[in-house]
Protein backbone atom coordinates (compact mmCIF):
# COMPACT_ATOMS: atom_id res chain seq x y z
CA UNK A 1 0.00 0.00 0.00
CA UNK A 2 1.33 3.41 -0.95
CA UNK A 3 1.81 5.72 2.02
CA UNK A 4 -0.26 8.90 1.86
CA UNK A 5 2.87 10.90 2.77
CA UNK A 6 4.23 9.97 -0.65
CA UNK A 7 1.24 11.65 -2.32
CA UNK A 8 1.61 15.36 -1.53
CA UNK A 9 -0.71 16.20 -4.46
CA UNK A 10 -3.58 14.27 -2.90
CA UNK A 11 -2.95 15.81 0.53
CA UNK A 12 -3.01 19.31 -1.01
CA UNK A 13 -6.15 18.50 -2.98
CA UNK A 14 -8.06 17.13 0.00
CA UNK A 15 -6.99 20.09 2.18
CA UNK A 16 -8.05 22.67 -0.42
CA UNK A 17 -11.36 20.91 -1.09
CA UNK A 18 -12.15 20.69 2.63
CA UNK A 19 -11.26 24.39 3.02
CA UNK A 20 -13.62 25.32 0.18
CA UNK A 21 -16.40 23.13 1.57
CA UNK A 22 -16.00 24.78 4.98
CA UNK A 23 -16.24 28.20 3.31
CA UNK A 24 -19.38 27.08 1.49
CA UNK A 25 -20.97 25.67 4.63
CA UNK A 26 -20.56 29.06 6.32
CA UNK A 27 -22.64 30.70 3.59
CA UNK A 28 -25.55 28.29 3.15
CA UNK A 29 -28.55 30.23 1.82
CA UNK A 30 -26.67 33.52 2.20
CA UNK A 31 -25.29 34.18 -1.26
CA UNK A 32 -22.99 37.21 -1.25
CA UNK A 33 -22.82 37.39 2.52
CA UNK A 34 -20.36 40.09 3.56
CA UNK A 35 -17.57 38.01 5.02
CA UNK A 36 -14.12 39.32 5.83
CA UNK A 37 -12.57 37.11 3.18
CA UNK A 38 -14.91 38.31 0.43
CA UNK A 39 -14.18 41.95 1.32
CA UNK A 40 -10.47 41.20 1.36
CA UNK A 41 -10.61 39.52 -2.06
CA UNK A 42 -12.75 42.33 -3.52
CA UNK A 43 -10.28 44.89 -2.19
CA UNK A 44 -7.51 43.09 -4.09
CA UNK A 45 -9.45 42.63 -7.31
CA UNK A 46 -11.32 45.89 -7.77
CA UNK A 47 -8.31 48.29 -7.82
CA UNK A 48 -6.77 46.07 -10.52
CA UNK A 49 -10.07 46.04 -12.41
CA UNK A 50 -10.37 49.85 -12.12
CA UNK A 51 -6.84 50.27 -13.44
CA UNK A 52 -7.43 48.12 -16.53
CA UNK A 53 -10.84 49.71 -17.08
CA UNK A 54 -9.30 53.21 -16.94
CA UNK A 55 -6.73 52.15 -19.54
CA UNK A 56 -9.42 50.79 -21.87
CA UNK A 57 -11.54 53.93 -21.40
CA UNK A 58 -8.50 56.06 -22.22
CA UNK A 59 -8.01 54.22 -25.51
CA UNK A 60 -11.72 54.54 -26.30
CA UNK A 61 -11.75 58.26 -25.50
CA UNK A 62 -8.86 58.83 -27.94
CA UNK A 63 -10.85 56.96 -30.57
CA UNK A 64 -14.07 58.81 -29.76
CA UNK A 65 -12.37 62.21 -29.59
CA UNK A 66 -10.45 62.04 -32.86
CA UNK A 67 -11.44 59.24 -35.17
CA UNK A 68 -15.15 58.88 -34.58
CA UNK A 69 -16.07 62.51 -35.32
CA UNK A 70 -16.85 62.01 -39.00
CA UNK A 71 -20.38 63.24 -39.72
CA UNK A 72 -20.68 65.17 -36.48
CA UNK A 73 -21.56 68.46 -38.18
CA UNK A 74 -24.71 67.15 -39.86
CA UNK A 75 -25.67 65.34 -36.67
CA UNK A 76 -25.17 68.59 -34.75
CA UNK A 77 -27.55 70.46 -37.06
CA UNK A 78 -30.13 67.71 -36.65
CA UNK A 79 -29.79 67.84 -32.86
CA UNK A 80 -30.21 71.63 -32.87
CA UNK A 81 -33.52 71.24 -34.69
CA UNK A 82 -34.62 68.50 -32.29
CA UNK A 83 -33.54 70.65 -29.35
CA UNK A 84 -35.71 73.56 -30.50
CA UNK A 85 -38.71 71.25 -30.85
CA UNK A 86 -38.15 69.77 -27.40
CA UNK A 87 -37.82 73.20 -25.79
CA UNK A 88 -41.17 74.15 -27.22
CA UNK A 89 -42.66 70.93 -25.85
CA UNK A 90 -41.16 71.57 -22.41
CA UNK A 91 -42.67 75.06 -22.28
CA UNK A 92 -46.05 73.47 -22.92
CA UNK A 93 -45.52 70.82 -20.24
CA UNK A 94 -44.27 73.21 -17.56
CA UNK A 95 -47.78 74.40 -16.86
CA UNK A 96 -49.05 70.80 -16.60
CA UNK A 97 -46.31 70.01 -14.06
CA UNK A 98 -47.27 72.99 -11.92
CA UNK A 99 -50.88 71.90 -12.04
CA UNK A 100 -49.96 68.33 -11.02
CA UNK A 101 -47.94 69.67 -8.08
CA UNK A 102 -50.92 71.78 -6.98
CA UNK A 103 -53.24 68.76 -7.18
CA UNK A 104 -50.77 66.60 -5.27
CA UNK A 105 -50.59 69.11 -2.46
CA UNK A 106 -54.39 69.18 -2.37
CA UNK A 107 -54.44 65.43 -1.95
CA UNK A 108 -51.86 65.61 0.83
CA UNK A 109 -49.57 63.13 -0.86
CA UNK A 110 -45.91 62.88 0.07
CA UNK A 111 -43.52 64.37 -2.43
CA UNK A 112 -42.55 61.00 -3.82
CA UNK A 113 -38.87 61.14 -4.70
CA UNK A 114 -36.52 58.25 -4.97
CA UNK A 115 -34.24 59.36 -2.17
CA UNK A 116 -30.53 59.81 -1.80
CA UNK A 117 -28.50 58.20 -4.56
CA UNK A 118 -24.86 57.68 -5.38
CA UNK A 119 -23.72 57.69 -9.00
CA UNK A 120 -21.54 54.72 -9.85
CA UNK A 121 -19.78 53.34 -12.89
CA UNK A 122 -19.91 49.69 -13.93
CA UNK A 123 -16.35 48.42 -14.14
CA UNK A 124 -16.76 44.69 -14.63
CA UNK A 125 -19.11 41.83 -15.20
CA UNK A 126 -19.41 38.48 -13.49
CA UNK A 127 -16.42 36.41 -14.62
CA UNK A 128 -18.29 33.10 -14.38
CA UNK A 129 -20.85 31.85 -16.85
CA UNK A 130 -23.92 31.27 -14.72
CA UNK A 131 -24.62 34.30 -12.53
CA UNK A 132 -25.71 37.75 -13.62
CA UNK A 133 -23.81 40.29 -11.60
CA UNK A 134 -21.77 43.42 -12.29
CA UNK A 135 -19.12 45.22 -10.27
CA UNK A 136 -19.49 48.96 -9.59
CA UNK A 137 -16.87 51.45 -8.42
CA UNK A 138 -18.71 52.64 -5.30
CA UNK A 139 -18.75 50.86 -1.96
CA UNK A 140 -19.04 51.15 1.79
CA UNK A 141 -17.02 54.38 1.91
CA UNK A 142 -19.66 56.02 -0.33
CA UNK A 143 -22.55 54.85 1.84
CA UNK A 144 -23.47 51.81 -0.25
CA UNK A 145 -24.94 48.91 1.73
CA UNK A 146 -26.05 45.36 0.99
CA UNK A 147 -29.57 45.25 -0.53
CA UNK A 148 -29.47 48.86 -1.75
CA UNK A 149 -31.46 49.33 -4.95
CA UNK A 150 -29.54 50.04 -8.16
CA UNK A 151 -31.33 51.97 -10.90
CA UNK A 152 -30.82 54.11 -13.98
CA UNK A 153 -33.14 56.82 -15.32
CA UNK A 154 -34.60 54.11 -17.59
CA UNK A 155 -35.51 51.72 -14.80
CA UNK A 156 -34.36 49.14 -12.25
CA UNK A 157 -31.01 47.40 -12.63
CA UNK A 158 -30.79 45.22 -9.52
CA UNK A 159 -29.69 45.19 -5.90
CA UNK A 160 -26.36 45.31 -4.09
CA UNK A 161 -25.25 41.80 -3.20
CA UNK A 162 -21.96 42.42 -1.41
CA UNK A 163 -19.94 45.50 -0.57
CA UNK A 164 -16.25 46.24 -0.12
CA UNK A 165 -14.78 49.59 0.88
CA UNK A 166 -14.62 51.07 -2.64
CA UNK A 167 -16.70 48.68 -4.72
CA UNK A 168 -19.80 46.55 -4.71
CA UNK A 169 -21.23 43.54 -6.56
CA UNK A 170 -24.72 44.11 -7.98
CA UNK A 171 -27.14 41.27 -8.71
CA UNK A 172 -29.06 42.09 -11.90
CA UNK A 173 -32.84 41.68 -11.94
CA UNK A 174 -32.48 38.97 -14.60
CA UNK A 175 -30.29 36.78 -12.34
CA UNK A 176 -31.97 33.42 -11.75
CA UNK A 177 -32.08 34.07 -8.02
CA UNK A 178 -33.49 37.58 -8.22
CA UNK A 179 -37.09 38.43 -7.29
CA UNK A 180 -38.75 41.83 -7.48
CA UNK A 181 -42.19 43.17 -6.58
CA UNK A 182 -43.95 45.12 -9.31
CA UNK A 183 -47.27 46.65 -10.15
CA UNK A 184 -48.89 47.02 -13.56
CA UNK A 185 -48.92 50.72 -14.38
CA UNK A 186 -52.42 50.81 -15.90
CA UNK A 187 -54.40 48.19 -13.99
CA UNK A 188 -52.46 48.60 -10.67
CA UNK A 189 -52.41 44.79 -10.26
CA UNK A 190 -49.62 43.64 -7.93
CA UNK A 191 -47.20 41.02 -9.22
CA UNK A 192 -43.92 39.33 -8.39
CA UNK A 193 -41.27 38.75 -11.04
CA UNK A 194 -38.16 36.58 -10.93
CA UNK A 195 -35.10 36.49 -13.15
CA UNK A 196 -34.75 33.74 -15.70
CA UNK A 197 -30.97 33.77 -15.87
CA UNK A 198 -31.38 34.94 -19.46
CA UNK A 199 -32.52 38.32 -20.74
CA UNK A 200 -36.07 38.33 -19.39
CA UNK A 201 -38.09 38.22 -16.21
CA UNK A 202 -40.75 35.62 -15.53
CA UNK A 203 -43.97 36.24 -13.63
CA UNK A 204 -43.90 34.23 -10.42
CA UNK A 205 -47.05 35.62 -8.79
CA UNK A 206 -49.93 37.90 -9.78
CA UNK A 207 -53.09 38.96 -7.96
CA UNK A 208 -55.27 38.82 -11.09
CA UNK A 209 -54.01 38.07 -14.59
CA UNK A 210 -57.22 39.07 -16.36
CA UNK A 211 -56.71 41.58 -19.16
CA UNK A 212 -52.90 41.65 -19.02
CA UNK A 213 -51.60 41.95 -22.57
CA UNK A 214 -48.27 42.11 -24.34
CA UNK A 215 -46.83 45.61 -24.03
CA UNK A 216 -48.23 46.27 -20.54
CA UNK A 217 -45.83 48.37 -18.48
CA UNK A 218 -44.70 47.25 -15.03
CA UNK A 219 -43.22 49.55 -12.39
CA UNK A 220 -41.82 48.75 -8.96
CA UNK A 221 -44.36 48.56 -6.16
CA UNK A 222 -41.87 49.10 -3.35
CA UNK A 223 -43.33 46.15 -1.44
CA UNK A 224 -40.03 44.28 -1.49
CA UNK A 225 -38.59 47.13 0.63
CA UNK A 226 -35.49 47.16 -1.55
CA UNK A 227 -36.49 49.17 -4.59
CA UNK A 228 -38.21 52.56 -4.42
CA UNK A 229 -41.82 52.69 -5.53
CA UNK A 230 -42.69 53.73 -9.08
CA UNK A 231 -39.46 53.05 -10.95
CA UNK A 232 -39.98 51.54 -14.43
CA UNK A 233 -39.28 47.81 -14.28
CA UNK A 234 -40.24 45.92 -17.42
CA UNK A 235 -42.60 45.57 -20.36
CA UNK A 236 -44.62 42.37 -20.83
CA UNK A 237 -43.16 40.61 -23.86
CA UNK A 238 -45.25 37.42 -23.98
CA UNK A 239 -48.40 36.06 -22.40
CA UNK A 240 -48.95 32.31 -22.56
CA UNK A 241 -51.56 29.79 -21.45
CA UNK A 242 -52.68 29.43 -17.86
CA UNK A 243 -50.40 27.15 -15.86
CA UNK A 244 -51.50 26.16 -12.35
CA UNK A 245 -52.84 29.45 -10.92
CA UNK A 246 -52.08 32.11 -13.52
CA UNK A 247 -50.85 32.66 -17.06
CA UNK A 248 -47.20 32.19 -17.96
CA UNK A 249 -45.80 35.67 -18.66
CA UNK A 250 -42.40 37.00 -19.55
CA UNK A 251 -41.26 40.62 -19.36
CA UNK A 252 -38.32 42.43 -20.88
CA UNK A 253 -36.48 44.77 -18.49
CA UNK A 254 -36.76 48.48 -19.34
CA UNK A 255 -33.01 48.85 -18.91
CA UNK A 256 -30.68 47.25 -21.45
CA UNK A 257 -28.67 45.29 -18.91
CA UNK A 258 -26.07 44.23 -21.48
CA UNK A 259 -25.01 47.85 -22.01
CA UNK A 260 -24.82 49.22 -18.52
CA UNK A 261 -22.30 51.98 -17.97
CA UNK A 262 -23.51 54.34 -15.26
CA UNK A 263 -25.98 53.53 -12.51
CA UNK A 264 -27.45 55.13 -9.41
CA UNK A 265 -27.39 53.35 -6.05
CA UNK A 266 -30.28 54.34 -3.80
CA UNK A 267 -28.51 54.62 -0.44
CA UNK A 268 -31.48 56.16 1.37
CA UNK A 269 -35.13 55.83 0.42
CA UNK A 270 -37.28 58.96 0.30
CA UNK A 271 -39.24 59.39 3.51
CA UNK A 272 -42.89 60.40 3.61
CA UNK A 273 -43.28 64.14 4.13
CA UNK A 274 -44.34 63.81 7.75
CA UNK A 275 -41.11 61.98 8.68
CA UNK A 276 -38.77 64.43 7.00
CA UNK A 277 -36.93 66.70 9.40
CA UNK A 278 -37.13 69.77 7.17
CA UNK A 279 -38.79 69.82 3.76
CA UNK A 280 -36.40 71.03 1.06
CA UNK A 281 -37.63 71.70 -2.42
CA UNK A 282 -34.21 72.42 -3.91
CA UNK A 283 -31.47 70.68 -1.93
CA UNK A 284 -28.01 72.18 -2.29
CA UNK A 285 -25.38 69.78 -3.64
CA UNK A 286 -22.74 68.82 -1.11
CA UNK A 287 -19.34 69.89 -2.50
CA UNK A 288 -17.55 67.35 -0.32
CA UNK A 289 -19.31 64.44 -2.03
CA UNK A 290 -20.28 65.50 -5.55
CA UNK A 291 -21.54 62.04 -6.46
CA UNK A 292 -24.31 62.06 -3.84
CA UNK A 293 -27.49 63.74 -4.92
CA UNK A 294 -31.22 63.52 -4.55
CA UNK A 295 -32.97 62.60 -7.74
CA UNK A 296 -36.60 63.09 -8.54
CA UNK A 297 -38.75 60.12 -9.41
CA UNK A 298 -38.52 59.35 -13.08
CA UNK A 299 -41.89 57.81 -13.61
CA UNK A 300 -45.15 56.65 -12.11
Amino acid sequence: MVSIAKRPGWIALVSVLVFNLLLLSLQTNQRGSPGVMRKWLLNIMVPAEKLVDTGIRGIWSVWDGYFALIGVRSENDKLHTENDQLRMQIQGQDEEIREAARLRSFLGMADAGIGKTVAARVIGRNPTRFLQTVTIDRGQSDGVKTNDSVITPDGVVGRVLSVASGSAVVQLITDAQSEIAGVFQESRVQALFRGTGGRELELSYIDDDYGIEVGAEVITSGLDQIHPKGVPLATISSVGEKKEHFKVMFARPRVDLSRLENVLVVIEHARPKGDAPEPQNHPEPNPASPAVHTSPRTDG
Binding site: L13, N20, R129, V169, A176, Q177
Partner: protein
Protein backbone atom coordinates in the same frame (compact mmCIF):
# COMPACT_ATOMS: atom_id res chain seq x y z
CA UNK B 1 16.61 26.81 -8.54
CA UNK B 2 17.71 29.61 -6.24
CA UNK B 3 15.36 31.23 -3.77
CA UNK B 4 15.09 34.59 -5.55
CA UNK B 5 14.07 32.95 -8.81
CA UNK B 6 11.53 30.80 -7.02
CA UNK B 7 9.95 33.85 -5.36
CA UNK B 8 9.94 35.62 -8.72
CA UNK B 9 8.05 32.70 -10.28
CA UNK B 10 5.49 32.71 -7.47
CA UNK B 11 4.98 36.48 -7.83
CA UNK B 12 4.58 36.07 -11.58
CA UNK B 13 1.99 33.31 -11.10
CA UNK B 14 0.01 35.43 -8.58
CA UNK B 15 0.10 38.38 -10.99
CA UNK B 16 -1.08 36.15 -13.87
CA UNK B 17 -3.94 34.74 -11.79
CA UNK B 18 -5.20 38.23 -10.84
CA UNK B 19 -4.73 39.50 -14.40
CA UNK B 20 -6.74 36.59 -15.85
CA UNK B 21 -9.75 37.14 -13.58
CA UNK B 22 -9.64 40.94 -14.06
CA UNK B 23 -9.31 40.70 -17.86
CA UNK B 24 -12.08 38.09 -17.97
CA UNK B 25 -14.42 40.34 -15.95
CA UNK B 26 -13.70 43.34 -18.18
CA UNK B 27 -14.05 41.37 -21.43
CA UNK B 28 -17.38 39.94 -20.26
CA UNK B 29 -18.54 43.50 -19.52
CA UNK B 30 -17.25 45.02 -22.76
CA UNK B 31 -18.07 42.15 -25.15
CA UNK B 32 -21.19 40.95 -23.35
CA UNK B 33 -22.81 37.89 -24.85
CA UNK B 34 -19.96 37.25 -27.31
CA UNK B 35 -17.58 36.44 -24.49
CA UNK B 36 -20.09 34.63 -22.27
CA UNK B 37 -19.17 31.04 -23.20
CA UNK B 38 -15.45 31.54 -22.54
CA UNK B 39 -13.83 30.72 -19.22
CA UNK B 40 -10.25 32.03 -19.27
CA UNK B 41 -9.64 30.82 -15.72
CA UNK B 42 -10.51 27.25 -16.67
CA UNK B 43 -8.34 27.36 -19.79
CA UNK B 44 -5.43 28.68 -17.73
CA UNK B 45 -5.99 25.89 -15.19
CA UNK B 46 -5.67 23.25 -17.91
CA UNK B 47 -2.75 25.08 -19.50
CA UNK B 48 -0.89 25.31 -16.18
CA UNK B 49 -1.61 21.70 -15.28
CA UNK B 50 -0.45 20.41 -18.67
CA UNK B 51 2.56 22.70 -18.90
CA UNK B 52 4.04 22.32 -15.43
CA UNK B 53 2.68 18.90 -14.38
CA UNK B 54 2.85 19.85 -10.69
CA UNK B 55 -0.27 18.61 -8.88
CA UNK B 56 0.42 20.49 -5.62
CA UNK B 57 0.93 23.95 -7.10
CA UNK B 58 -1.88 23.28 -9.59
CA UNK B 59 -4.33 22.67 -6.73
CA UNK B 60 -3.43 25.98 -5.06
CA UNK B 61 -3.48 27.86 -8.35
CA UNK B 62 -6.92 26.47 -9.21
CA UNK B 63 -8.31 27.30 -5.77
CA UNK B 64 -6.91 30.84 -5.98
CA UNK B 65 -8.36 31.44 -9.43
CA UNK B 66 -11.75 30.09 -8.37
CA UNK B 67 -11.92 32.12 -5.17
CA UNK B 68 -11.09 35.33 -7.04
CA UNK B 69 -13.82 34.50 -9.57
CA UNK B 70 -16.27 33.93 -6.72
CA UNK B 71 -15.39 37.25 -5.11
CA UNK B 72 -16.26 39.18 -8.29
CA UNK B 73 -19.27 37.10 -9.28
CA UNK B 74 -21.11 37.26 -5.96
CA UNK B 75 -21.31 33.45 -5.97
CA UNK B 76 -20.80 31.70 -2.61
CA UNK B 77 -17.07 31.77 -1.88
CA UNK B 78 -15.67 28.33 -2.60
CA UNK B 79 -17.96 27.33 -5.47
CA UNK B 80 -15.44 27.97 -8.20
CA UNK B 81 -12.58 27.50 -5.72
CA UNK B 82 -13.67 23.87 -5.26
CA UNK B 83 -14.25 23.11 -8.93
CA UNK B 84 -11.16 24.86 -10.30
CA UNK B 85 -8.88 23.20 -7.70
CA UNK B 86 -10.21 19.81 -8.78
CA UNK B 87 -9.90 20.60 -12.51
CA UNK B 88 -6.37 21.95 -12.10
CA UNK B 89 -5.33 18.84 -10.16
CA UNK B 90 -6.95 16.59 -12.77
CA UNK B 91 -5.12 18.44 -15.57
CA UNK B 92 -1.75 18.11 -13.83
CA UNK B 93 -2.39 14.40 -13.12
CA UNK B 94 -3.48 13.83 -16.73
CA UNK B 95 -0.24 15.32 -17.99
CA UNK B 96 1.73 12.81 -15.89
CA UNK B 97 -0.11 9.84 -17.43
CA UNK B 98 -0.92 10.90 -21.01
CA UNK B 99 0.87 12.62 -23.83
CA UNK B 100 -0.76 16.04 -23.65
CA UNK B 101 1.16 17.30 -26.68
CA UNK B 102 -1.28 15.36 -28.88
CA UNK B 103 -4.08 17.64 -30.20
CA UNK B 104 -6.69 14.94 -29.62
CA UNK B 105 -5.77 14.68 -25.90
CA UNK B 106 -6.02 18.47 -25.59
CA UNK B 107 -9.39 18.59 -27.35
CA UNK B 108 -10.87 15.89 -25.13
CA UNK B 109 -9.36 17.36 -21.98
CA UNK B 110 -10.51 20.96 -22.61
CA UNK B 111 -14.01 19.88 -23.58
CA UNK B 112 -14.50 17.42 -20.73
CA UNK B 113 -12.96 19.73 -18.12
CA UNK B 114 -15.36 22.53 -19.19
CA UNK B 115 -18.34 20.18 -18.83
CA UNK B 116 -17.06 18.91 -15.48
CA UNK B 117 -16.53 22.46 -14.20
CA UNK B 118 -20.04 23.54 -15.27
CA UNK B 119 -21.66 20.50 -13.68
CA UNK B 120 -19.68 20.85 -10.45
CA UNK B 121 -20.56 24.55 -10.10
CA UNK B 122 -24.24 23.82 -10.82
CA UNK B 123 -24.36 20.98 -8.30
CA UNK B 124 -22.67 23.08 -5.62
CA UNK B 125 -25.06 25.99 -6.22
CA UNK B 126 -28.08 23.70 -6.11
CA UNK B 127 -26.78 22.14 -2.90
CA UNK B 128 -26.23 25.58 -1.41
CA UNK B 129 -29.73 26.66 -2.41
CA UNK B 130 -28.31 29.81 -3.95
CA UNK B 131 -28.29 29.10 -7.67
CA UNK B 132 -31.99 29.21 -8.40
CA UNK B 133 -31.11 26.97 -11.28
CA UNK B 134 -32.70 23.91 -12.71
CA UNK B 135 -31.21 21.36 -15.05
CA UNK B 136 -32.70 22.13 -18.44
CA UNK B 137 -31.83 21.27 -22.03
CA UNK B 138 -31.03 24.94 -22.67
CA UNK B 139 -28.55 24.99 -19.84
CA UNK B 140 -26.90 21.77 -21.00
CA UNK B 141 -26.71 23.25 -24.50
CA UNK B 142 -24.98 26.35 -23.05
CA UNK B 143 -22.50 24.06 -21.35
CA UNK B 144 -21.74 22.14 -24.53
CA UNK B 145 -21.33 25.43 -26.41
CA UNK B 146 -18.97 26.67 -23.69
CA UNK B 147 -17.03 23.41 -24.07
CA UNK B 148 -16.63 23.97 -27.81
CA UNK B 149 -15.55 27.62 -27.47
CA UNK B 150 -13.15 26.90 -24.61
CA UNK B 151 -11.63 24.03 -26.57
CA UNK B 152 -11.04 26.27 -29.60
CA UNK B 153 -9.51 29.09 -27.53
CA UNK B 154 -7.48 26.61 -25.49
CA UNK B 155 -6.09 24.98 -28.65
CA UNK B 156 -5.02 28.41 -29.92
CA UNK B 157 -3.23 29.15 -26.64
CA UNK B 158 -1.53 25.75 -26.70
CA UNK B 159 -0.52 26.45 -30.31
CA UNK B 160 1.23 29.66 -29.24
CA UNK B 161 2.93 27.77 -26.43
CA UNK B 162 4.20 25.10 -28.85
CA UNK B 163 5.51 27.69 -31.25
CA UNK B 164 7.29 29.55 -28.43
CA UNK B 165 8.77 26.31 -27.08
CA UNK B 166 10.08 25.24 -30.49
CA UNK B 167 11.48 28.69 -31.14
CA UNK B 168 13.53 28.63 -27.96
Amino acid sequence: MNRGRKLGNIAMTVFTVIAIVVVEGILKYRLGIFFKPFDLALIYCVYYGFNFSKPVSSVFLGAGLGLLQDSLSGAPLGTNGFSKALICFAAASTSLKFNVDQPITRIFALFLFTLADGLLVSILELTMGTGGLTVSSGRLMDLVLAGVFNTLLGLMIFGFRDRYRHAT
